[in-house]
Symmetry: C2
Subunit: 108 residues, 2 copies
């Protein structure tokens, strides 16, 4: 399996597994998002970027209609944010924490 | 290695490998993007979503400053689009082709 195959199938498999676990199907609630981040991220280098506060903050940023749930598109955005963070680190830059849409848009 | 570790490191590794290959560092030009999609996606199920025209179209959509290059953030968006497509398929829905920002925003 090529690397992007793996990326794409893993994102989808992880989301479906946790989103359809309990609660609303096709949506992650805060507990489910927490579980995903706890269980599916193990490398200390990546783990260092996440803590419980971030889950709260991520939910607030992502959950636009305030129903306490995030959909697949929003989950992808969350994974991308972590990837951007890791990319910045690899390039020797610090990881800027996303504070909202404006910063995301102006960021390179 | 947990699944999201793999997702994040693979996205970053693939991008860095191809972006820093030749041309501008830290940016993918059209040829490089084409190479990524050709070599790093092998599953017929995913491959079916991509053709040469899509690379042209993707470049146009992603390359906002018209310099023929896409950066890491834009690459992530491209991977997310493919993941969304695969997710829709898995749920038994057809894959809507993203035509631009408006559609992406209204999509669930």
């Amino acid at each position: 399996m090529a690397r992007l195959d793996q990326v794409i199938t893993n994102i989808v498999d992880v989301f479906m597994e946790y989103a359809d676990d309990e609660g609303k199907k096709g949506q992650l609630n805060k507990e489910e998002l927490k579980k995903v981040l706890e269980k599916e991220i193990q490398s200390p280098e990546l783990k260092g970027n996440i803590n419980a506060d971030d889950v709260e903050e991520a939910m607030k940023l992502l959950d636009k209609n305030h129903d306490g749930e995030i959909n697949f598109r929003e989950f992808c955005r969350c994974v991308c944010d972590l990837a951007k963070c890791y990319y910045q680190k690899k390039k020797g830059k610090g990881c800027k924490k996303s504070k909202g849409k404006e910063q995301e848009d102006e960021e390179d």
